[in-house]
């Protein structure tokens, strides 16, 4: 029996923790709040240390809160992060997305900075500023930066944030044994999708959508052990998914992943979702890292990284690249399907479509098709936002107050 308008709009018959009001994906006010309350105080992956191999190597990163950053390795090998904003007239300091800059010079008026954020030259300083303003007054704005958890450079925009270790807690313990060897980036691309960032993180937080992937159905869902994989929730909104043995050779054109990963069981696959929008995805021979950069309520840029081991032989690296591309490259079998999925959600949920609810009601003892990963995320989202995801405008509360009156 199809639903009337009233039935469509009525709250789902689940506990309020088991559904989300669709407007959390479309509202501009909520989006602006998310940048301040979720992204600004969180540790975010900016790049990998292998992108900054030499002293003065730098990498630009647009922080999800909107701030343009420079991540640069100093002459002391320490990785630091700064606003890519000249303290003089607010211009962009570095333009190319990566490079090597012993001296970072703003092209506008040639003010220069070193890799520790010090201003080292103000052109015609004495003539213009006399003794009223000097280089010490013109340092770059540094943001907190720590390298860890597989050699990633994490940044945090707030001065009084908890340490990276406190933020992550035990969430990445499951991957620690497999991140002891130095890794190296071999793949990077961005995808622009008209969807909300949380919908991408949702996709990484539930495996019920394996139904969209022929590859996953044939190599995973139809294989022993698939329904034993379990979710574990951690403080701060993070969650992990346990492993199973993926039968890669069941897909025609694929093959058993011979190159593997040190210490990991054959065909293993672990995922860790880091709040508010990053995912570690170690699938047998390749580590994939997703970083979401929301551009608007219904606009998303995702950074995809693929990593192997720094010690790889050319043959091993070629195997990893093949494995990566088979499912995760821009022409891969799975990534296109996942991106189509969230693109479709973005189409159906954009403002004015009368999309109303997103259900997260599956309970299967925290196993692979349970939606506990998403529920855990939205519990943290609600806590940080001060808005329940099931009723972000507290309309239900108002109704209950009115009813009580």
């Amino acid at each position: 029996m199809a639903k009337s308008a009233a039935e469509w709009n009525a709250a789902p018959r689940f506990p309020a923790t088991h559904y989300v009001d669709s407007r959390v994906y479309t509202d501009q006010t909520i989006f602006e709040e998310e940048k301040e309350k979720l992204f600004r105080p969180s540790w975010i992956i900016a790049c990998h240390e292998s992108e900054l191999a030499q002293a003065y190597d730098y990498r630009l990163f647009t922080h999800p809160a909107g701030v343009p950053l420079i991540v640069i390795r100093g002459d002391d090998a320490k990785v630091r992060a700064f606003y890519n904003i000249c303290p003089h007239r607010g211009n962009t300091i570095l333009y190319d997305p990566a490079g090597n800059a012993k001296r970072m010079t703003c092209i506008f008026h040639q003010w220069s900075f070193d890799a520790r954020g010090n201003c080292i030259d103000i052109t015609r300083a004495e003539q213009g500023y006399q003794d009223r303003f000097c280089k010490e007054d013109a340092a770059m704005r540094e943001v907190k930066c720590e390298v860890g958890y597989g050699g990633f450079a994490w940044v945090n925009l707030t001065d009084d944030c908890p340490s990276l270790r406190e933020f992550i807690g035990p969430a990445l313990d499951i991957l620690e044994p497999y991140m002891q060897q130095p890794m190296e980036l071999f793949h990077y691309h961005k995808a622009y999708v008209r969807t909300n960032f949380k919908l991408w993180h949702d996709t990484n937080s539930e495996f019920y959508h394996d139904f969209i992937h022929y590859f996953n159905r044939i190599t995973g869902m139809l294989q022993p052990g698939y329904y034993d994989r379990k979710y574990t929730a951690f403080p701060n909104g993070h969650a992990t998914v346990g492993s199973m043995q993926i039968q890669y050779d069941k897909y025609e054109g694929s093959k058993e992943r011979a190159v593997g990963w040190p210490g990991m069981a054959r065909g293993g696959w672990y995922m860790v979702d880091i709040f508010p929008g990053m995912t570690y995805n170690l699938r047998t021979s390749v580590l994939r890292i997703d970083t979401t950069i929301p551009l608007g309520p219904n606009e998303l840029l995702i950074e995809f990284r693929g990593l192997g081991l720094k010690s790889d032989t050319p043959e091993e690296r070629a195997e990893r690249v093949f494995d990566h591309n088979m499912i995760w490259g821009p022409f891969g079998r799975n990534l296109h399907e996942d991106l189509l999925g969230v693109h479709g959600q973005g189409r159906a949920m954009r403002r004015g479509t009368d999309s109303r609810w997103v259900l997260q009601g599956r309970e299967e003892n925290s196993t692979i098709h349970d939606e506990v990963g998403m529920r855990h995320y939205y519990a943290e989202w609600s806590r940080r936002m001060g808005r329940p995801a099931y009723d972000p405008y507290r309309e239900g509360e108002a109704e209950s107050v009115r009813a009580a009156a």
């Binding site: 997305p97 990077y188 022929y214």
Partner: protein
């Protein structure tokens, strides 16, 4: 090089585009040699590395095509526009460089957008009755491909 030979090589490149545009994969593979290899690569200024995004031999391409119906894919058709720039003979083969633009047309409404630009770097075998593609390297300039695509360029 004889004009007829150059024309035959150019026509091979153009026919390969027409076949892929039409989803006629058997026709495309008929234009390829038995030891055909297809690669998509691009350079990333962000990580300052060349990247390979797809790499298959002829068997791999056959499998990629035959698996397509099992997957969920964007069905917006692509239109490949190639212009052969240079043809250099090398014994019984020719090295061919072509400009490539790929357009994508939305099924609903028919709006067409530029999807990607790059170049074909083809090696064409000339020792048979007709020229055949022995190697196609697609060097992409475009790296932002939205939600991607399942069918090679």
């Amino acid at each position: 090089m004889k004009t007829e030979q150059r024309q035959a090589i150019e026509e091979l490149v153009y026919r390969s585009c027409l076949a892929l545009d039409a989803g006629e994969y058997t026709t495309f593979l008929d234009l390829c040699d038995t030891d055909f290899r297809y690669t998509i690569s691009t350079y990333s200024p962000e990580i300052r590395r060349d990247m390979v995004w797809l790499d298959h031999d002829r068997k791999g391409m056959e499998t990629l095509f035959s698996n397509l119906p099992k997957h969920n894919s964007d069905h917006s058709p692509l239109t490949r526009h190639a212009t052969v720039y240079t043809v250099d003979l090398a014994g019984q083969a020719a090295n061919v460089v072509s400009a490539l633009q790929v357009f994508r047309t939305q099924l609903d409404g028919g709006a067409t957008e530029l999807f990607a630009v790059g170049r074909f770097h083809d090696t064409v075998n000339l020792d048979g009755a007709s020229p055949k593609l022995a190697r196609r390297l697609v060097k992409l300039e475009t790296r932002l491909l939205g939600y991607g695509y399942h069918i090679p360029f």
